[in-house]
Symmetry: C2
Subunit: 272 residues, 2 copies
């Protein structure tokens, strides 16, 4: 029997997954969370599936050993590479990834239109979003475009409005959606870093275009799934959040606050 009072474990290669944590907290404010950012080895997006599986297993084991009632893989690369393995390894613990929820909502939103997946090079090449979209609706027209600079752009604070960043940010956002000037479009943000560009991206798209991000949709699915399992949604956990990082806790707190949308007061250094 899993204790309702246990926190939900969340991990990512670094800070991007904090956009997912932010939405999880928003969806389940009474829950407690423990977040692990594998900052010693970030990013995962340019590493092989085998290596990512190994890193994901180590990160998950650390969280499970501390006691969690569910595991959220808040990283697209790790979700694509390791979700079946983690689900099997830690059964019956519920394990959630970020790809299927976003793909399902985007496929529903698109109906008979097109979906444009914006993600890292690794995620686009891997094809996990394309497969998940087609699994929901085999008639969808799917396009995918790699945005290799967006993660760095996001982590460097280029989404801010300092004069020198505007030209570069706008050029990159415009480039990503060039050729997709139609209202019959759903844009799926397939990287946990990308929600911070959501509002700016909208100005480069036609009115009526839907933007779906995997952070929001994952949080909704986790809340829904856990809510259906009696005794798993905490209501007396007072929404505590503990942060772990495998390197550079100062940088984790500083950059992470940008994605989490609020200050990160403390983070504990862990070795995996």
């Amino acid at each position: 029997m899993i204790e309702a009072s246990l926190p939900i474990g969340v991990f990512d290669s670094g800070m991007g997954g904090l956009t997912v944590l932010k939405e999880l907290q928003s969806a389940m404010p009474a829950e407690s969370f423990i977040y692990l950012g594998d900052s010693a080895r970030l990013p995962y997006g340019n590493k092989s599936a085998h290596t990512v599986q190994q890193y994901a297993l180590q990160a998950s084991s650390e969280l499970v050993s501390r006691g969690v009632k569910a595991l959220v893989v808040a990283c697209n690369t790790a979700s694509a590479a390791a979700l079946p393995q983690l689900t099997e390894q830690f059964a019956p613990l519920p394990v959630f990834g970020v790809i299927e929820p976003g793909a399902r909502i985007a496929a529903q939103a698109a109906a008979q239109g097109s979906v444009l997946v914006l993600a890292t090079e690794g995620t686009v090449m891997d094809g996990a979003y394309q497969r998940a979209l087609l699994a929901t609706n085999p008639k969808l027209k799917i396009h995918a475009r790699a945005c290799p600079l967006w993660v760095t752009l996001a982590e460097q604070g280029y989404a801010s409005d300092t004069p020198e960043s505007v030209t570069i940010t706008e050029a990159l956002l415009s480039h990503a959606v060039r050729g997709f000037q139609t209202s019959h479009l759903t844009v799926l943000l397939g990287c946990t870093h990308f929600p911070i560009f959501r509002d700016k991206l909208r100005t480069h798209l036609k009115a009526g275009v839907k933007i779906v991000d995997s952070a929001q949709t994952t949080a909704q699915q986790v809340a829904y799934a856990l809510g259906r399992v009696a005794g798993r949604v905490g209501d007396k956990n007072h929404g505590q959040i503990k942060f772990l990082a495998t390197d550079g806790v100062e940088r984790f707190q500083r950059v992470g606050a940008y994605f989490f949308g609020q200050a990160i007061e403390a983070a504990e250094l862990v070795v995996l």
Copy 2:
């Protein structure tokens, strides 16, 4: 006694150091080399000094265990964080970094003018180039500007001339040198990825500006230093190069060829 026939060991967090290897090979065509790219953990630039020291020690130990007559740390971050430690650990093996050679040549070239250091955020914050420049010439006027997107830009092939990349690349290059439109300037490229932007960057600078890169200057220093140690410069090694990578050998070969300037036929996967 160290065997003259041994290769020179070179390591970097990934592929950027291949610009250094290319210059080393050009300076010493008869030498053999063994290059290790720690692609499982790249990049080093956003990790703590302690973690980078640990990674650098593991990479160096792997090369030393295979037999090398000298070690070149072809990575700015590892040079800044770990050079004294590696020098002590592997004495009397000669160990070279990439910071001091570039800084010395840039300081000489600048004379009484200004030096603009372009590097990653980590290298700029660390201040190793600024210290090395001042150690050569305490009267220099030194400016440093972080180019956080350039490494990703370089690794994604944005330096190529595909129409969609020109706008973004030109915007980033122009941004890096804005405010430095003077002929009395020496630009020091303080990242092993940056030499591939050398020609394009020149079009954004006034005539007469000198551009110094750490790949060329390091190769010159290594050739000079080893040439002075009797029996250490091989002339019968036939210029063989062996490549090791800690992850994704296919990607290492594909992206690496771009920095090395020629095809990489094979790379061996190693676990550190």
